[in-house]
Amino acid sequence: MFVGGEVIVHGVVNKALERFTIDTYGFGLWQKVVSACPHAVAFYEAMLCYPDQDSYALLNQLSRILNKPNADILEDMGTYLVVHRNQDGVRRLLRFGGVDFRDFLFSLNEFNARIDLIMPDLNLPQINVVCGAKNQISIRLAPSWSEFTYLCIGILHAMADDYGALIRLAHFADTGSAVIQITLVDDRFAVAQGFKLAARGPSNG
């Protein structure tokens, strides 16, 4: 997204990186990351926007400190967003998408429209789900933000576990877009985690 010629990132992205780092590696490590980035702040506001170099700087420092490639960190973060008890909101919003994993994948066609209703300025890459032969489903991501692919891979793995589905994932680039290819090996491999459409309290079911 562009504001006054500067690329900006919605605060939820930085906030997610902050929460992921603190919940996974502790507050001390996050402080190290922040102090290594000249423009970083200790706590990000999910509802404000920040220059996108900030997000890249944070990610690069985290990668340097953990000695782990950016792609792996983003994949871990995707998993974190679904499975960590501090983040139950994300899992729930995704589970509204469908009764089983296949249903859920199909609902991702509506993902951008849903996000637009909730956070119109978030601007995630356009997602397009294509059902191929038998158990092949591919997700095509518009080329606006290449790191998003790894975040998606983490989320997809975690959601498959949540639905009790067994999947295999592969990804490749195709004419600028990223394509994540999902093979649904068994959609009832394990018992799905519970999900209620309306839950009392902040994190339930």
């Binding site: 509802m47 404000l48 849903r114 209620k196 459409l197 309306a198």
Partner: protein, 317 residues
């Protein structure tokens, strides 16, 4: 046909001309939690509020085509919407039920799932949006609260002298403006330390800073809670004595301060002998005064004290 109806609209009832329930669709069955609704009169299970008038006896069937509100008699606070539609054989009518604004509470109360809604219903999307919206609202509220807190702290910081915690010049201007607005009398004393430069030169600035903090504590102790002590900068301070037009009050305060500074102050390992020079006046509410004039007057009175040999208070009228 029944099966398609159950899939398309899984929350409906079918009644006969007498208003007796002949069929309960799956979601309604789940909501009734095993209670047998079939062959009961619809009004025995539900409280029904038609759009106009009252419902009498068996006239349910007569509502053909009309919308109404309904609630389970056991859950009167869940207000749903229904409509009576006569079926082709004219002896039966279907009542499709939607949960309206009670959707979230209903889904919560009866633990409804995706399967309890029809494939063309927007209920699940609405629940998803409601949940997302409330999360976004909570996040926005949190930002507003944090900004509000930061703003308050910034306001306090903007009016505070960081070294001594007393008010600063900006807070003096605000207080004087508020006295003018409220039209009240007050006393004002300007004071500065004698020999402060010598302390800084001989013992260093950190000791000088400690002296200023000590003096601030003494000022705070000697004024009343609603009076004001301000550090203008350096070793210059101003005291505002609220709501008085009595010069003896200022003289009394000045004497107390001189007495407090008579013995040397102990700063770290140093004994520091200081003195105070002061100038003050009373500002009457009825007087037409300006901030510049008042500050100039007390500054001149202070200067007078200095010239007459320091360690004293000069009152100007």
């Amino acid at each position: 046909m029944d099966n398609i109806l159950n899939i398309l609209c899984p929350c409906h009832l079918i009644i006969n001309r007498a208003g007796v329930i002949e069929h309960v669709a799956p979601t309604m069955q789940k909501i009734l939690q095993g209670e047998t609704a079939r062959l009961q009169h619809v009004l025995d299970l539900f409280s029904i509020k038609p759009r106009s008038g009252h419902l009498r006896g068996c006239s349910m069937f007569e509502l053909d085509g009309q919308k109404f509100h309904l609630s389970l008699r056991r859950f009167l606070d869940l207000r749903w919407n229904g409509v009576v539609l006569r079926l082709q054989d004219r002896d039966k009518a279907i009542i499709p039920i939607s949960f309206g604004m009670a959707l979230k509470e209903t889904a919560e109360c009866f633990e409804l799932t995706h399967a309890d809604f029809g494939p063309s219903e927007l209920a699940v999307d609405m629940l998803c949006l409601l949940e997302a919206q409330s999360a976004v609202r909570a996040a926005s509220r949190a930002v507003t609260q944090r900004i509000e807190g930061a703003k308050k702290n910034a306001e306090i910081a903007a009016l505070t002298d960081p070294l001594t915690g007393l008010g600063n010049r900006r807070s003096l201007i605000e207080r004087l403006a508020s006295f003018a607005r409220q039209n009240i009398s007050f006393g004002i004393i300007q004071l500065d330390l004698d020999h402060f430069k010598t302390v800084n030169d001989q013992l260093g600035h950190p000791v000088g800073d400690r002296v200023l903090v000590e003096l601030s504590n003494i000022l705070r102790q000697e004024i009343r809670a609603h009076d004001v002590a301000v550090r203008l900068g350096g070793d210059e301070f101003i005291l505002l004595i609220t709501g008085t037009n009595d010069p003896t009050e200022l003289l009394g305060l000045a004497e107390r301060l001189l007495a407090r500074l008579k013995p040397p102050l102990t700063i770290q390992t140093h004994k520091v002998q200081l003195g105070l020079s002061m100038g003050g006046r009373i500002v009457e509410a009825a007087e037409r005064w300006s901030m510049i004039d008042i500050l100039q007057a007390v500054d001149q009175a202070l200067y007078h004290s200095k010239r007459r040999g320091k360690g004293r208070f000069t009152f100007c009228s």
